[in-house]
Every structure is written in structure tokens, then in C-alpha cells.
Symmetry: C2
Subunit: 98 residues, 2 copies
Amino acid sequence: MDTVQLAKVLKALSHPNRLELFLEIARQNEASFESGGECFITDIIGSLNIGAPTISHHLKELANAGLVTTRRRGKYLVAKVNKETFERVKRLLAMGED
Amino acid sequence: MDTVQLAKVLKALSHPNRLELFLEIARQNEASFESGGECFITDIIGSLNIGAPTISHHLKELANAGLVTTRRRGKYLVAKVNKETFERVKRLLAMGED
DNA sequence: TATGAAATTTGCAAAGTATCAAACTAATCT
DNA sequence: AGATTAGTTTGATACTTTGCAAATTTCATA
């Protein structure tokens, strides 16, 4: 991953609402064995106070940066963190250490 | 550091030129015992291809996010990574993983 | 002190972003 | 089928961002 790509990913995380959205997805992914590690977007729409269109837009940006994947699960949309991308970003930021 | 603050820092790193600038400062900080771990901005101005005013502006944004500190060293400006902020960001992104 | 080099400030243009309302599509439920 | 719920698309508006050119400041040194 080069600098341009890394910047793109960081940009996706650079807006408070979008970062919150991502972190919430990540939290659900870790925590919820009940829901099979999947994060239901519907639940998030309630907790962030921005409208559904804006959430939709932000989600698309996260997906576009390769940070999350989404798929329909019946009536609902679920999201999952793309660990490969996220790990790579963390590794790049860690730089010289190790 | 809360989400808003974290977003602010990530935003500072979210533009390719600004990220490059930061990474270059970080690299110099690690590598150069010759120059006392200090990064001379003058040298960077040559290697990035944007003008001095824009560099100045970007540098201020990095400083404003708490990612670097700068000070004049005679005729030149030198920059240093603020490790405290940077470490905190990495820790926050690392989340559950230790 | 006058000249020059390094960096900053200001003002501006072009491009990009966040958000919403309204209209739409997709899936479910009665 | 008709009504309902979840999410998307479109179009608009207000705001932010990047970058440059020109003018200015700061410092060093001839």
C-alpha cells in the first residue's frame, strides 16, 4: 500500500461521524457472538444523529476505502470490518517499531 | 482522546501531500543522528512538488493536530514528531488487540 | 545596513464534502 | 396486492480544502 492509498483510508476515518460509524461496526464485530459478529446498520442509524442518506453515503466511503464490506441480510444491511485493510494501515503507521 | 479528537488527527494525515510530509519528518526523526533527529523543512520543500506556502500551511495543520512540533533553528525551520499524540492514535486504532 | 534566502500571510479560484429533503427501490408483513 | 420498513439515489445548498501568486516577515551574512 503506498502513501496515496494510505491517505485514502485515513481520509475515510477523518470525519467524526464516519469514524464513529466505523468504530461502532468494529465494536459489534468484536463483541457480538449473538449476531454472528455482524453489525446491523439499522441499529446505528438510531444512535448517530445524522439522517439515513448521510449514513448511506458514509458507509459507501468506508467500503470504498476498503475498510468495511456490507451485504444485505434479508431486510437489513450488515457491515463487517475488512481486517486485511485495517491491519495493513496499523502496520504502516507503526513504522519502525518492532 | 475522544472520537472527535481522533478524527482531527486522522484528518491531518488524510491528504497525500500532508501524509508524505509527516512521514518524511518521522523518517528523519528516526534516522538522522547527524542532524540530531531534526528534520529540516527546507529539504522537504525540494522533494515534495508543491510550493512553500502550501507546505507551510500543511505543516501548521500537522502542528495543530498535535502531530508535530516545529521551531526555528537559526535560518531554518525544523520539525519533530510529537510521539505522545502519535502513540495515542496508534493505541486507539489498535483497539482490543494488545 | 543592504541583500538574499527561508518561511509565512493574505487573498483568491477551483474542486471537493457533508448534509438534507424528496423521490425512489427492495424486502417483508398483513 | 397493499402497506410498511430499510436503505439508496438525486439534486441542492452551504461549507471546507488545496493550491498558487504576490506581498510580507525573519533571520543571517556580506
